[in-house]
Every structure is written in structure tokens, then in C-alpha cells.
Symmetry: C2
Amino acid sequence: MTPPRDPLPPLAELWMLKDGADQDVVVSSRMRLARNVQGFRFRARFRPDEAERLERHLRGALKAARPELQYASLKDLTSAQRDVLFERHMVSAEHVQEGHARGVGFSADGAVSVMVNEEDHLRLQVFAPGLDLPRVDAEVNTLDDRLAALVPFSYSDTWGYLTSCPTNTGTGLRVSVMLHLPALSFRPEAKGGQGEPGIVKVSKAAQKLGLTVRGTHGESSRAEGDFYQVSNQVTLGRSPEQALSDLAAMLTQVVDYERNSRAILVKEDKTRLEDVVWRAWATLRHARRMSSREALAHLSALRLGTCLQLIDTVSLRTLHTLMVAMQPGHLQQAAGRELRPQERDVVRAQLIRDTLGAA
Amino acid sequence: MTPPRDPLPPLAELWMLKDGADQDVVVSSRMRLARNVQGFRFRARFRPDEAERLERHLRGALKAARPELQYASLKDLTSAQRDVLFERHMVSAEHVQEGHARGVGFSADGAVSVMVNEEDHLRLQVFAPGLDLPRVDAEVNTLDDRLAALVPFSYSDTWGYLTSCPTNTGTGLRVSVMLHLPALSFRPEAKGGQGEPGIVKVSKAAQKLGLTVRGTHGESSRAEGDFYQVSNQVTLGRSPEQALSDLAAMLTQVVDYERNSRAILVKEDKTRLEDVVWRAWATLRHARRMSSREALAHLSALRLGTCLQLIDTVSLRTLHTLMVAMQPGHLQQAAGRELRPQERDVVRAQLIRDTLGAA
């Protein structure tokens, strides 16, 4: 079977462009399960051909469990296509870097993705826009159950699900939400810019609850554009229900804290806020070259301004579209060729101008 | 005689808003003469009442020599009005700081100004837009001749005109031009931003010719917005004609150098240039607060873009109007009250938005 010529779903269909609950602060909800298959070694200890054999096996199981999912072997994808998958959070940074017998199954809207031969044999992921933990919980468990009926997962009565890295052993579960926390990231100007932003307190509080706060792409990335991922850390000796309720309890507080901080900013320093928001709008619409870091910072400011109704020139959907489309892989995929970083900055600025000019 | 209620000419009449020769690079030409009056001590050694007596004397002479000039004693002006005079280059920074028996005579367009009791008894200044040294030369000398016929100036056959500070003794002449040198101020990006901008070479070459290159307000100010004042340094043992021709020769080269540098930028890095220009335009039209330093940098970029026809959204006259009107004294004069620096930034941004929105 030859892979489809362009296996990537169109941008306009992506789950992340849809509205969700509490979307002024909560960008998305995600649940991920790590699973390994009995009778196969962990990835680090694969024998020759074991990876290929497992990929074929899992691809077949996936087709049986969820026929509507597409599947792509990473080796069949161009570098830009793999980057596109990564930029849509459908595969991890590690997964796209090496193509050997790795693959990914995914739904047309990208909300469901299954990495094959990542760190674990299987990583099942379900996303939803806004705050919707019950939905991602239900969907990922349905998928898990169907696959478990077809493939015997490595499981120990003592340890739970066995995983390649012990930090996932037990539930194999990571539940996380992506939060937009611009007000908590603002340095209080009244104290001469020296005050501690609220996000520092959030991180400390999260740690005490066994949660972590990280940048948009997980472990190794910094929080760009004031987007933070909050997720559970403990998978061993704690039930999935406990992980979910810990996160949900923390979330309620963080969402309130961010909203209150925004309200205080609007009340006490509206001009400063409007200045940031309008400068972002103006710069995005007129710059002739722009790095993705700068673009994300401006899009973040516009997102805040839009949620606070300080500006109504652009929809959240358009902002979210740009956040995805302005990334290097998407730019190169759209251009149909590799772009040097300097070229990308020019193409990115053009895309943003075109998009916002018509917004 | 009571001073007029608002002795300041309206902004719209100012000489600096008019077109001039070579105005893409040369903002303005200026000639200044330092003169002292026989029978009066230098300012530093004034006896009680000597300053007042001299001011009355010179005010009368000025009225007789040029009846159309207005006259204001600085003590009769508000702090904002004195700042306005300074911001229009009609008085020096030193002159406005202390009001004791100091005054200024000036034409309605501000092109002629005569400081009384500054460092010297008299400082005669004439400005013209663009490059026009013969005009300012002729006008300042006509004024000098008329005053000399009414007031005996301190003069030595050996030294020439005697002045309070020996650096002015001799001709008492300072001839200067204000240049806009954005291309020569650009750091060459090709060398990783480490290359030496052309303005450094210009400064070195100027020194060898006995000329100096400084910021917009002379001695103690830095070059903001890429505006540089080039002036003669030597007043002793060199004729006014020599000072003029030295400066003129240097100018031809600097103007060519700047124009060539602009042409190279347009040819080799047009996107970078357009990026700077359009960001400046966008930010000026949308920011909600802005320092005068930032505003001047953006106005400078727009001036460059306008001269290079990269942008045609605004006239040079409007840009020059804003450069004057957005300064603290002008803002406070327009507001009719003192403004705290933070307030000024908000009022400035508003003025710029209003002006460019309708441009």
C-alpha cells in the first residue's frame, strides 16, 4: 500500500481552530497514554527487524480498531510534512527526528493521534479545544480499550502499565492543558518592573500538587507567547481519576487567578494593555519580516486583547490559524520548497499581512 | 510695555516646516554670531543691575534694527513656553534654564532669533530649511551690520570679536547644518551587525577638517533619530569665508555618501528597509503611549522611507511638524498644564495617532 500523496489534513479542519469552554484562558486539553506490546522488546533494545515487524502489527491493529484514522510512516514524509505534524502537536519532537519504522495514525481533524515506535511502542493522544477533560478522557480510553482487545499490552499487577521510561510506568497517563497566561506573565510595572510575575507563584503551587508547568512543546521548550502546559507528573501509585481531579482542582484556581489579573490590568493599567495590543496588531499587519518568536508574542498579545474585547479586528480562529500556519514546517509545506530562515521570516510576514489584511 | 500674552509664533508658520534644497539629507542650515557690547562686562562678571541695564539697551537696539522682531524676556514666560523656544532651537538649553535678565528676539517664523544675555551679550542666529548657507550667511550679516551701527561691539584688531568663552573669539561665528543620516547610521547587517556604521568615518573625517559632528541640540546631546549637526570648530585665525567653504566642501561629500548608502540599502536589503519603515508607520499610528526618543526614531525611519519613496502615506511637512510638536514643552503648552512624564507619553501617542490618522 502506498501512502497518500499528501497525508496531512487541511489546516482549516484542525480541532484547534474550534471554540472550546473557558477558551479565554484554556487553549486546549490533552490526554496521552503510553502503552507497550507484550512479546516485543522496548525500543532501546529492539533486535533488527523488530521495529518494522511491530509497526506492521500495530498499523493493522489501529486499522481494525479505528478504520477512520489515516496512517503515515514517517519515512514516507518529507521533512516539511514531519515538521507540520510536530507543529500540530500530533507527534513529539523526538518522534519526527528519526524516521526508522516510526509512524503515526491520526484523525482528519488531528484531535486523535497515535505514535507508533516512539519512546514507547504506542503513544495514544486525544486533544480537545478549551477545557474539556471528560471528553479527552473518554475518547482516549475508548481507543485504549479497542486496541487492548486486539493487542496484549505489557502490564504488571504490581507496577501497572510498563513503559520504556519509569516516569510513565503505572497509569502511563499524561493529562495536560495548554493555558494562555499573559496577565500572569506580565511583570508588575508599578514595582519598577522588578516584581515577580504571577506565573512564578503558579509554578511553585503546581509543583506541590505533583504538577508541572512547561512551555508549549513540553520538556525542553520555553514558554513562548505566554502559553504554558500544565500536566501531571506522577503516574505510579496514583489512579487516573486522581490525576484528573488534581489537575482540575489546580486549573480552576489558575483560570480564576489569570482572569483576576487581567481584570486588574484593565482597571489599573488599561493604557499599557491597549498599547501592547495595538502595537501587536499594527506590527503584525505591517512588518516585512518577522521571526516566529516575535510573531507568537504579538499573536499572544492580540489573543489577550481579543478576549478582553480591547480590540475586535480579528477572530480567535484567525489568530489560532496563524499560530499554526506561521511555523517553519507549515510555511515550507505551503511554499512547496525548503526556505532558509531569512526567507521564512519574509514569507511569514507576508502570510500574516495577507491574513490580517482580510480579517 | 507688557509682553504679549502668548509670544510664541504658531507652529504652522515655522521655517522648519518649509521645503529646502537637498532636504532628503540636509534638514537645515544655521549661522550664529557671538557678540559683546563695549562698556559692559562679560556675563560672568556682571555687577548688580548691569544685566538688566544691558537687556534694556539691547532690546531697544533690536527694535530699532529690526522692528518686525518680537521680543520676550524669559522671566515673563512659563516653563512650558521656554521649553517650546528651546525645542524650536530659538534659545539654547543654558539660556532657558535661568531667567535673570535674559531675553530673546525672534521673527514670526522663528528663522531669526537673538539671545540677549546668554553666554555672550548677544547671540544672533538665522536658520533656513535644507541646504542654504548663502542665505543664512547674508541674513545674519545684515542683522549684525544693523546692530553694529547702533551698538559698539567689543572688537580687537589682534583677536577679532571678543567673546566670553575663547572658543568663540575671532569671528564669533558658528555655521552648522543639521543632517539626517539614517543610512550612515545603519549597522551593516551582513557582517553580523558588527561592522562600523558610515557615520563613524564621517566623524573622523570631519575632525580632520576642524569640524565637529554632534547630536541635535549641540554639545551635550546624543544623536537621536540619526540627526547630526555638523559645524565649524575654529573661530580664531580663520575667516568666515574659510569656515563656510570648509563646511560646504565636507557637506557635498557627506550628502553623496549618505545618498549612496541609501541606494545600496535599497538595492541590497530593500526588505529590511521596508520592514523598518512600515513598522515605524504602524507603531506610530497605533501605540497608546510613546517616549519622545522612540517617537523620534520612528519619525526618522518614516522620513527615510518617504525620501526613498518606499512609503507615501505622509508628507515631510507632517513628519517635521510631529518632530517639533511631540516634544515635552510643546505637549505641555498645547495641554495648557504641566504633564507628568507618563502622561506625556500617552498624550504624545494620541497626538501622533490623530495627526497620522488624518495624514
